[in-house]
Point group: C2
Chain length 343, copies 2
């Protein structure tokens, strides 16, 4: 028997399709008698409204969770877009969760794992300092994306990772500034307890200074303010504003993210400094807006698209059982724009 459609019902009833739809959906905007007639015809003809027909074969897609540490980061937004695309292509659903800095991302992950559809987890940003036991409870493959260090003491063949070499890329930037004649280079960095990219990028800064024969000065190391959102425009602004008020000599400011650098740029402008004439300014990440701020921002460009695609590729390979865990390091690109100059 051919299946009866909503069209057929409408024909039999002598009404429009929308009227049938209204009847089915219990819409208030329909004459009660018409509705009754339609529902009777539907019953008589064993018509299964679309919805229930679908019910029979409805299936929940398997899911991949993406856990993002930190808020509103343009770098992650670009990454999530690509991840979403890749996950969709594999017919999986992406479950996106932002994790506040105060939250424990593994606890969040453990809660998500309760969803039986979950097949894998992508940790984006932040850092993982959890015991092997705790991570083992996840019971689904996971991959760390742009997380500097893996979990301390955790064997590297139980998880995968994709990142740039944050220490080396940071070294590249600071070495470039040194070679441009800068000696008093301030760094806007993570707080002391940071064990992730913040620590690595600071290491690269110190090593580049040392290799260029420049002593590291504590007063040029400017950690983000713990009471403000990490890696935010506001944090970059406030740290710089406070630093400038002290009058510590400095010819360049390097922020470990572009967003921090843009905040710093505004503080410089507000205090009457010209970039790069008075102070050079550099960031890290290569977010798109960096090209459009004035002056355009010198940065280390991370290959976001490739990194996101590789993250998804590795995770799906592991889910399918075809591959072992992997650790992929991508190369960043020193991108010199208008915000830095030779001294």
């Amino acid at each position: 028997m051919e299946e009866i459609t909503i069209k057929d019902i409408a024909k039999i009833c002598g009404v429009g399709i929308s009227t049938v739809s209204r009847a089915i959906n219990n819409h208030p905007d329909i004459n009660p008698e018409t509705k009754e007639m339609i529902m009777r015809v539907i019953q008589e003809n064993n018509y299964i409204p679309n919805n229930s027909a679908r019910n029979l074969k409805r299936q929940d897609a398997k899911a991949i969770a993406v856990l993002v540490k930190g808020i509103d980061n343009s770098f992650f937004s670009a990454m999530i877009r690509v991840l979403e695309q890749e996950i969709k292509e594999k017919k999986y659903t992406m479950v996106l969760r932002h994790v506040d800095f105060a939250e424990d991302e593994v606890d969040v992950a453990l809660k998500l794992v309760k969803e039986k559809r979950l097949r894998g987890i992508i940790f984006l940003g932040g850092y993982l300092l959890h015991s092997e036991e705790k991570l083992a409870q996840l019971h689904v493959p996971f991959i760390l994306c742009t997380i500097g260090t893996g979990p301390v003491g955790y064997s590297r063949n139980t998880y995968s990772s994709v990142a740039v070499d944050d220490a080396r890329e940071s070294y590249k930037m600071v070495d470039y500034l040194c070679k441009s004649g800068h000696r008093d280079i301030a760094i806007i960095c993570a707080c002391e307890t940071d064990a992730s990219i913040g620590m690595l990028r600071l290491q690269g800064y110190k090593k580049a200074l040392q290799d260029n024969g420049i002593p590291v000065k504590e007063e040029l190391i400017l950690p983000m303010k713990p009471d403000l959102e990490d890696y935010s425009l506001e944090n970059g602004y406030e740290v710089t504003k406070e630093f400038l008020a002290k009058g510590t000599p400095c010819t360049a400011i390097y922020a470990i993210s572009d967003i921090l650098a843009i905040g710093a740029g505004k503080a410089l402008s507000d205090a009457g400094y010209r970039v790069p004439e008075d102070i050079s300014l550099a960031g890290f990440d290569g977010v798109e807006i960096g090209k459009y701020v004035i002056p355009a921002l010198t940065t280390i460009k991370q290959p976001v698209d490739s990194m996101a695609r590789e993250t998804a590729r590795i995770l799906f390979e592991i889910i399918s059982g075809r591959e072992q865990h992997q650790h992929r390091i991508f190369e960043g690109e020193l991108t010199i724009r208008e915000s830095t100059r030779n001294l």
Copy 2:
């Protein structure tokens, strides 16, 4: 086979439950050898710590889909953050899907509805020009958030909406520019076929000019380039670059989004124009970065947080059956910063 419990593990190991728990949770207060033994037994028995009890009652959370039209929009990012929070609080999962400008968001929604967990849909941005029949197939409540016009000819008591009055807010901005002495005000707007906020913001522009006795000039209406991403930095940049090359007299540029305006600002700077000394520049939306660009951007601030919270509130009220569909209009705020001046 019956599932192994923490009790069984304790029995096998000859220890108490609390000791097993300490081992699992990496508690320092446990003999390392005991811990190792317990962890081995756990592994051998495929015991799933902590989760196991939960396993039995594992349930997929009900889901709300958020469908975002367009790419990488900081305005939407801020909104999504709040929506995620609100959805999480109600113990629902957020399924996020970006919809390309070429994609049909209702088709995407129809596919998502196949997930039996789905209880509601939030359409973010874009516009809906679909037949009532097609939308009726969604069979779950939906709400339009920051979508200027509802579906044409669709009765307003079958969906909810949250938005600002785009025509009126746009009018505010252009009226302010006129009252500041500007007469040649260019607008970077949506393409002609736009039936959404693009159209409404253009209407507001035209009406404000008329009310100020200024004729609308076609050569000052600059639609985004259809071959570039809508509402992108690049689009604002390219449209402005092309416009400036023509030399059409103009003392102010108003872009219908902040991101377009920031792109425009870069094109102005590259062409040697100073903002606001030579040309005033204004945007729309009130994204955070607008405060940090140089000069800080004059804009219409949409109350993102309140709008997102209200969107979630209304949707959940409808899902729970406690309320009828609603249409909420929020007030925007003309926010004058550094990028505009009196002539």
